[in-house]
């Protein structure tokens, strides 16, 4: 039972990180029907920016651990959001009217560009986060000792997701985003500035991705320039699992994927971990072809 709960909390923590990244995929997909293959690399940029900002200003001297993390998260989210918006303007907007696969190639080009830019700036080796920022405490949960950091990761992600959900459901901008996702042309006719909506989506998605990157850096302690691919693929899987284009779907998909992965590694085989994840995904898609929460829509190409 102890082992099970450890794996469960670990899976939920990793899964909540996947969910944060998956939200970026799913929001962009919802509005543009584009798989933003560069999104994983925006996440990696977040992780590296976090490291740079942390060491550059010596934040730890002025603020307590909580303050450092909050200031850092805000800076990283802001910067990555700007990168995301620039990416949209340069690589995706000119292709808005083209076939959707054309934009996919542009996205892959952007991904290669970002990945190599990170490698040129920071070098190909693993980078290590300072490990004295977050407390090392363990918390007793149902009689199980769980690291505090793990709970903080989970809690922060859930808070961000709830905030996003409320933003999308309750505000005017959120309503505009939902309208543009359902029918862009009708939204335009209703006076919604769709270009601005897309820009906002490309600010929010990368900001969440950047925050996830920072969390991975703080939680695991080391980062690498290729991590964007790996996490990006997992998060994309999570978005599909929940039903791409569906915001609660991305959250559910991410958490579920993290738990499946942790359980697969713990009880079946570590070497086959990723294969198990994909087999479960394929099995779910065979039964529910549009994901867990995806709507049945007739696809129009």
């Amino acid at each position: 039972m102890d082992f099970f709960l450890q794996q469960l909390t670990n899976g939920l923590a990793v899964g909540s990180i996947y969910a944060l990244i998956a939200l970026g995929y799913t929001m962009v997909y919802g509005v543009l029907k584009l798989i933003n293959f560069a999104h994983g690399d925006l996440f990696a940029i977040g992780a590296y920016l976090g490291l740079t900002l942390l060491t550059a200003f010596g934040l730890t001297r002025f603020l307590g651990p909580l303050g450092v993390v909050i200031v850092l998260a805000l800076m990283v989210m802001g910067l990555v959001a700007v990168v995301g918006a620039v990416l949209e303007r340069v690589a995706y907007r000119p292709l808005r009217q083209a076939h959707r696969l054309s934009a996919v190639v542009s996205a892959m080009g952007a991904s290669i560009f970002f990945q190599n830019a990170l490698m040129l700036i920071y070098g190909a080796r693993y980078k290590v986060y300072p490990h004295d920022i977050l407390p090392k405490n363990v918390v007793s949960l149902l009689g199980v000792e769980v690291p505090l950091v793990r709970l903080l990761v989970l809690l922060t992600s859930v808070l961000m997701m709830v905030a996003l959900y409320l933003f999308i459901q309750k505000t005017r901008i959120g309503t505009a985003i939902r309208a543009a996702a359902i029918d862009q042309r009708a939204a335009k006719l209703m006076g919604i500035n769709v270009d601005r909506v897309i820009m906002i989506v490309f600010l929010i998605g990368p900001a969440l991705g950047g925050a996830a990157g920072l969390m991975v850096g703080l939680y695991y302690g080391q980062i690498n320039f290729t991590m964007g691919w790996m996490y990006g693929l997992k998060a994309f899987t999570a978005a599909i699992l929940g039903g791409i284009g569906n915001i609660p779907g991305a959250m559910v998909g991410g958490l579920l994927l993290g738990v499946i992965e942790a359980m697969g590694a713990a009880y079946l085989s570590i070497a086959w971990k990723d294969a198990i994840t994909f087999i479960v995904l394929i099995a779910i898609l065979i039964v529910r072809p549009t994901g867990l929460l995806g709507e049945r829509v007739a696809e129009k190409v």
């Binding site: 798989i35 080009g109 190409v301």
Partner: protein, 319 residues
């Protein structure tokens, strides 16, 4: 406007044929890789370009062909080129079994499943499934191919083997494109519902497209195994599938000259940038974005199909 294409194609073929006599072994080897990517790109083109199925797991079938060749060759010493049909067959049968339950998935859902397929294949190979794939070290000691007692071992020799096979591929796929089968694929790509309504069994055609592509990738895997003599799971990772995907889209979906040009750009261009050393992939990524912005349908998109207007009726029907 006069149609210069036959002249351009002929000039390209002559230049390519003469290339191994002027280039050094390194560049001939680059051309060999381009040729292999061209064959793979053409086989993916049937699935992605013509049938419009988002298939990003083509490296899995490539791996199945290469491993079939490697395992049978090293265990039973059967000559490599004899194994080409068997490699194709194994890849094709596996494609049939795998694709049957997933073929009805739409667009991006199919995409992630095929990505999963390539990852599962790679992990199975790394974990030495059934104890025959040699784990992460792979399989070595695959023998060189022979044709009528002539042993193919130098890059120049492989050049003619690979591009000869590419020429056969181009011929056959060109015929396929203009057949009833090719037209049916294009119809279901453009409008699946309408195709279904016109009596085209869409699931059946999609499945055949998948299997044809997989058979060809399996045969390309055979040549790859013969050329390398060592194969390892890392040659068939997700990135390889992405490269093939990009070749088809960058060159032009559904266009044979486009796909070959795509193979030259994706497999050849990074070699030309060697002087920029570590920045070459950075430049490559930027160029990819630029190319898609300026040629959104790919660099050489296919020309629309043309049919002679019916002779009778006259008047307005003349084209």
């Amino acid at each position: 406007m006069k149609d210069y294409r036959p002249v351009v194609y002929a000039a390209f073929c002559v230049l390519l044929l003469l290339a191994p006599f002027f280039l050094n072994a390194y560049w001939v080897d680059v051309l060999n890789n381009v040729g292999l990517y061209a064959i793979l790109g053409l086989s993916l083109n049937i699935i992605l370009g013509h049938a419009g199925l988002f298939h990003m797991g083509h490296a899995a079938f490539y791996a199945m062909g290469a491993y079939t060749t490697a395992i049978i060759n090293t265990t039973y010493q059967i000559p490599v080129l004899w194994l080409m049909p068997i490699s194709g067959l194994v890849a094709g049968v596996l494609a049939l079994v795998i694709a049957r339950p997933i073929i009805h998935l739409r667009g991006d859902y199919l995409l992630i499943v095929t990505i999963g397929l390539v990852e599962i294949t790679r992990i199975a190979l790394v974990n030495n499934i059934f104890g025959i794939t040699g784990g992460s070290n792979g399989i070595f000691g695959i023998s060189r191919p022979e044709i009528f007692g002539f042993r193919i071992r130098r890059p120049e020799h492989f050049f003619f083997l690979i591009w000869g096979f590419a020429a056969v591929t181009v011929f056959l796929f060109h015929r396929l494109e203009n057949s009833r089968f090719g037209r049916a694929l294009n119809y279901l790509r453009e409008d699946e519902t309408a195709a279904e309504g016109s009596g085209i069994n869409t699931a059946h055609y999609k499945l055949i497209a998948f299997v044809v592509g997989a058979v060809w990738a399996g045969m390309a895997g055979n040549i790859f195994a013969a050329k390398m003599t060592i194969i390892a799971p890392e040659s068939f990772n997700f990135w390889e599938s992405v490269i093939l995907f990009m070749i088809v889209l960058l060159g032009g979906r559904g266009s044979i000259p486009g796909v070959i040009l795509g193979a030259f750009l994706i497999a050849g261009l990074p070699e030309l940038f060697r002087q920029f050393a570590s920045a070459r992939m950075l430049i490559f990524g930027a160029i990819m974005i630029a190319m898609m912005i300026f040629r959104t349908e790919g660099i050489l998109p296919p020309r629309p199909r043309r049919y002679p207007a019916p002779a009778s009726g006259g008047g307005e029907g003349a084209s």
